[in-house]
Symmetry: C2
Subunit: 108 residues, 2 copies
């Protein structure tokens, strides 16, 4: 369901975290430095983002490296494609393109 995705990205802090993590992989501590909320708050946001696969955790000892997963946005794209019939013809090829977009892991 794309409502879950919208909810996840509908919070300013969480959206900012996602955007950061799409630029570079960061640990929880590094994220905590960059935002003015507590470390637990960051962890909680990460859990939400992880639940809908918008971020990926790479454990390395006691460090948790997180990176953004833009592929996780796919359900949103798919949902939006439903509405392309309301947009100009120029975009008519969008859904075709989307249909052929692979499901699995993508290169970054």
């Amino acid at each position: 369901m794309q409502v879950i995705l919208m909810k996840a990205l509908g919070d300013d802090t969480r959206l900012a975290i996602f955007e950061q993590l799409c630029k570079r992989e960061l640990t929880v501590t590094q994220l905590t430095e960059r935002f003015d909320v507590s470390q637990p708050a960051i962890s909680q946001h990460l859990r939400v983002l992880k639940r809908c696969r918008l971020v990926h955790e790479r454990r390395e000892g006691r460090f948790a490296h997180y990176r953004g997963r833009p592929e996780g946005l796919r359900p949103l794209i798919n949902w939006l494609a439903h509405y392309q019939k309301f947009w100009p013809e120029r975009l008519d090829t969008l859904s075709a393109l989307l249909k052929t977009m692979p499901e699995g892991e993508k290169k970054r």
Copy 2:
């Protein structure tokens, strides 16, 4: 800001209302019949959707006809286009297409 859009669409009832209104124009009363929340709740959801231009109100006497405005999704599309560089090359033309998509009113 696309967070506002996400917030607006991040509620199940509101998303369902938007989807209904993209299919057909409906009055507040008709919407109230279709959902199991009170009429004021519907009006409040409509206000949120209207604020971010996801619906349009057509007044006709005491009736308020609402219809969905899928064009209002554009900020979302634009934002998503930022992430296309993380997607397969197949989609590389997406942003070009989006850039040329007109801003004004579109045909339905």
